[in-house]
């Protein structure tokens, strides 16, 4: 998939979370952000020190405005595609650039360039400031270097490991996926890692430099027999260090994906219609990401276009439900010391006992709502302005024994693993694909089914939560969330969750 073909279909109006291998991005140890990136390029501080940032911010606010920031970024990316048993391609990427933003109330001016120099950023500041239609001036506060606390520590970040070790890992995963079943005919493995340096300077006085690491591996086997095909998926990674692969058994994960593909060859068609549904732990949290998470984001709240606008303090879901967005979850794809506006990340309880407690906010929307940023101002790269985004979002642990959640269901559906999903935040209508699903008959899992999707309306569905398990898992390996044309890495999670009714979309009625 081409990441950025400017001839592509235009505005993305719904949000979508796709499972699969993504744009890689971030984690960090702020003090480690010294020295050239992977021996290439410069230290960002050498290009933009506090003094030059101050001058750019002054230029940005010279025509007025409430707030301005400078965001510079460089990334070093290593990518390998392993297909049909061969190392198909190897890639090094080194994109870098910077942007200047000027904000006046709800208005944003943004200009960016791939040239990382004082003079090009002064130009960007002038272009961005043209959005301002006001005489009121704000004087920027001189920036001061901050070293926000790292959410956790990576001793030996995985992206720093030698290439030979990475390639060997992919070969072993390929062999393991093929060994799962003789009907596995094809395996594609994609590996991406990235070291990302960011420099953020803001007119409210923040100057942060951060180095962030992320690794992602996807292994997608295909099984084929008698004209039928099934696909499996294993994903590994997150903001991890080199010991991760000793803990997670990459070969075991690849083999499991091979079995998942093979099992689909025997699966029957999916059921159709409303029925009791139980969703398994971990990546199943895509459900809360789509159904409530996007509606919590501050831009829709501020514009009044979200179904949760104005519902703060009110009951919006089953009293069993606690929803957390945690930008500091260890190894999480959405984890960072600071967001892309320099605000320290935090753990936000968005829904407590079914009551809406907090939105997910960036600087601009929180200011317009009279609230504080919750550290959710994120951007895809220097080519994008920050917007409110989730970090690692999950349904918190419940009290039910996971197996007991099947009890009493005479006919229902169990989604062991979900695929991607999407939501329209105005209506709350959401959907997601089911990667691995089973019939529930008389409280037991029986036949495997293929090709199911789940659809529903956020508020209705969240009222229908009947039980939450004790088995919370937060996925750190596969979430990439798309919104407004910007993809960012995220974590999602949940324990096993039971719903009294969700509409299953399949061909069998």
């Amino acid at each position: 998939m081409s990441r950025r073909d400017f001839l592509r279909r235009g505005a993305v109006i719904t949000t979508a979370l796709a499972a699969g291998l993504p744009e890689a991005v971030s984690f960090l140890n702020p003090k480690a952000a010294e020295g050239a990136l992977m021996g290439i390029g410069q230290e960002l501080r050498d290009v933009l020190n506090e003094e030059t940032v101050n001058r750019i911010l002054q230029e940005a606010l010279a025509r007025g405005g409430d707030f301005a920031d400078v965001f510079a970024e460089q990334r070093f990316r290593t990518a390998v595609v392993f297909d049909a048993g061969k190392i198909d391609s190897v890639t090094y990427g080194y994109p870098r650039g910077a942007g200047v933003r000027v904000v006046r109330r709800n208005q944003t001016g943004y200009a960016f360039s791939d040239e990382l120099s004082y003079s090009s950023l002064l130009d960007a500041a002038r272009v961005a400031s043209t959005v301002v239609e006001t005489q009121s001036r704000t004087n920027p506060i001189d920036v001061t270097r901050r070293n926000p606390a790292a959410p956790f520590t990576l001793v030996a970040p995985e992206p720093m490991m030698p290439e030979a070790a990475k390639l060997d890992l992919l070969r072993r995963m390929d062999a393991a996926a093929r060994s799962a079943d003789p009907r596995v005919v094809s395996v594609r493995i994609e590996y991406v890692d990235e070291v990302r340096d960011v420099l953020i300077g803001t007119s409210d006085g923040v100057y942060v430099i951060d180095r962030q690491y992320i690794t992602g591996i996807s292994c997608a086997p295909i099984a084929q027999a008698g004209g039928k095909r099934g696909s499996g998926l294993a994903t590994l990674g997150g903001r991890i260090d080199s010991t991760y692969f000793e803990r997670v058994d990459p070969e075991g994960a690849a083999k499991k994906a091979g079995l998942q593909a093979a099992r689909l060859l025997e699966a029957g068609p999916a059921p159709a219609g409303p029925m009791p549904v139980v969703v398994g732990p971990g990546w199943g949290g895509v459900l809360i990401h789509e159904s409530l998470g996007h509606a919590l984001e501050g831009d829709g709240i501020r514009r009044g276009t979200s179904l949760l606008s104005g519902l703060g303090g009110t009951r919006v879901a089953s009293p069993l439900l606690r929803v957390v967005d945690d930008g500091r979850w260890p190894n999480g794809r959405g984890t960072c010391a600071v967001d892309d506006e320099g605000t320290p990340s935090q753990r936000t309880v968005a829904v407590e006992a079914g009551v809406l407690q907090s939105y997910l906010l960036d600087k601009q929307n929180s200011a317009l709502l009279g609230l504080r940023s919750t550290g959710n101002g994120r951007r895809m790269s220097y080519r994008n302005w920050p917007i409110p985004r989730m970090t690692n979002t999950y349904i918190d642990v419940g009290t039910s024994e996971p197996v007991s959640l099947l009890n009493g269901i005479t006919k229902g559906f169990y989604a062991a693993e979900l695929g991607g999903g999407s939501v329209e935040t105005t209506s709350g209508n959401f959907n997601f694909a089911v990667r691995e699903g089973y019939w529930i008959e008389n409280g037991k899992l029986t036949r495997a089914v293929r090709g199911a999707i789940l659809i529903g309306n956020s508020l209705e569905t969240m009222q229908r939560i009947e039980g939450i398990g004790t088995d919370l898992v937060v996925d750190t390996t596969r979430g990439t969330c798309g919104k407004d044309g910007q993809s960012v890495p995220v974590g999602v999670g949940q324990p096993t969750v039971r719903f009294s009714s969700i509409t299953v979309g399949g061909p069998s009625i």
């Binding site: 592509r8 890639t91 994109p95 200009a111 791939d114 043209t130 276009t305 105005t426 209508n429 997601f432």
Partner: protein
């Protein structure tokens, strides 16, 4: 950086790679300028402008492939990246098909993909178009009090290509777009509708008033929508919905997916795979097409390729590598950006227009008219299909009530073979387009 010097750098880096051990090398330099304005409630919410220049370099050494890309064109950085990439390339597996194009003679004279009028549009013009579109949306109906936003933007792009055998090639292209997303409110219900137009030439862009009006029609049509009971019925996809469906179907036509057993269309060349009314074409040479270009991302001239001819599967879409593997001519579908390797991608992909649009609904005694599709339910590997949809219920050939909260599902092979009607309403507002089409029978899953 001035363009001329960037081109020289792209050439120099390629030659350096060849001297440092690459038998073949290929430079792809892309320079893009974009502007976009977003307006809401009459106020500019966002103004964005940018210039970006990036270089991608593919190197081949003993049929092993390596790739680098960067936006940092300084000598020291490029030297280091080239050396590291050549070293990493030694780790890749040699493949016979790893070979870069040796010959490119562009025969098309003017594909009309660059419009100077687009480049001349100023930010004030974009604001004016957006404002007119939004005002026209508000003027349509009292139930429209707000918009998500209205967006207007332009982009111009310049591509430079050269490789070990093919000397400097270049082209320029433009695009302009305008979209509106009004929100209709009735009782406690809010529903949005979006209409977007996108063109190469400014003169072909729909008028802002029209865009506002059509977006409002879409939002209003969704008010009062509710699920319908589950049923197996004929289902008509509007042109917009059918275009999205075709886009999701495309991976099945990728020769790489076919070779690696990842397509339900593998092994079906020469067989009927769709109703006789269906002809699917990928045409990279279409005049003024949004997916039109002179050559693809690896120096292969673009083509018009008939994938499905009156229901019969004729061809897959190829990159240079897959064409070599199957020993067939390439189709010019190896598209890319500077920061991606060429990948099989549609140029202008469409279903040819049929005979009548109105009949598609009029002939249906009981069924569903689908105007919106959402989600990831098109599985081109297994051939299963299930998506969340909204639209209108059809009774006795007439649209009767708004529907949402339902899914449609089927098997892609059966669905395509069961297409029994194709409309005339083919319009290109994206590089993938379709007229309305009717599926003989799908499963609609809805309320109890």
């Amino acid at each position: 950086m001035p363009r001329q010097s960037a081109v020289e750098i792209a050439e120099r880096v390629r030659v350096q790679a060849e001297r440092s051990g690459a038998q073949e090398a290929e430079s792809y330099l892309e320079t893009s300028t974009t502007s976009e304005v977003r307006l809401r409630q009459g106020q500019i919410e966002l103004l964005q402008q940018s210039v970006v220049q990036g270089l991608g370099l593919r190197v081949l050494r003993d049929r092993r492939m390596g790739f680098l890309y960067t936006t940092d064109l300084r000598d020291a950085v490029l030297n280091e990246l080239v050396n590291r990439t050549l070293a990493l390339t030694n780790q890749a597996t040699p493949r016979d098909e790893n070979k870069i194009a040796e010959f490119l003679a562009v025969t098309q004279t003017d594909l009309e993909i660059y419009d100077p009028a687009v480049v001349q549009l100023r930010v004030e013009d974009l604001v004016r178009f957006a404002r007119t579109a939004e005002e026209s949306a508000f003027a349509q109906d009292k139930r429209i009090q707000t918009t998500r936003d209205v967006r207007c933007g332009t982009a111009s792009q310049e591509v430079f290509f050269s490789n070990t055998y093919i000397p400097r090639q270049t082209y320029r292209a433009t695009a302009v777009w305008l979209s509106a997303t009004p929100i209709a409110t009735q009782g406690g219900q809010k529903r949005e509708g979006t209409f977007i137009d996108r063109k190469r030439f400014f003169g072909e862009l729909a008028k802002p008033e029209q865009i506002g009006q059509r977006a409002v029609e879409r939002a209003l049509a969704r008010l009062g929508a509710a699920p319908v009971p589950s049923a197996r019925v004929p289902v008509v996809f509007s042109a917009e919905a059918a275009g999205l469906f075709l886009q999701n179907l495309f991976p099945a036509f990728s020769a790489l997916n076919v070779i690696e057993q990842r397509s339900f269309l593998a092994g079906k060349i020469g067989q009927a795979v769709a109703g006789p009314g269906i002809t699917i074409v990928d045409d990279g040479t279409m005049r003024r097409g949004l997916g039109t270009r002179f050559f693809d991302g690896e120096g292969v001239q673009t083509h018009r390729t008939v994938l499905v001819d009156r229901g019969v599967l004729r061809q897959y879409c190829h990159s240079a590598a897959t064409a070599r593997r199957l020993n067939v001519p390439p189709t010019g579908n190896g598209l890319r950006s500077y920061d991606t390797l060429p990948a099989i991608t549609p140029t202008n992909l469409y279903i040819e227009a049929g005979s009548s649009t109105h009949k598609l609904v009029e002939e249906v005694p009981l069924g569903l008219y689908v105007t919106g599709l959402a989600g990831f339910g098109v599985d081109t590997v297994s051939g299963e299909y299930s998506q969340q949809v909204d639209g209108q219920w059809i009774e006795k050939g007439v649209l009767t009530k708004a529907v949402e909260g339902v899914t449609v599902a089927g098997r892609l092979d059966e669905m395509l073979l069961g297409v029994d009607g194709v409309g005339r309403d083919l319009e290109f507002r994206s590089n993938v387009a379709s007229p309305s089409i009717r599926f003989k029978q799908l499963t609609v899953a809805g309320g109890a």
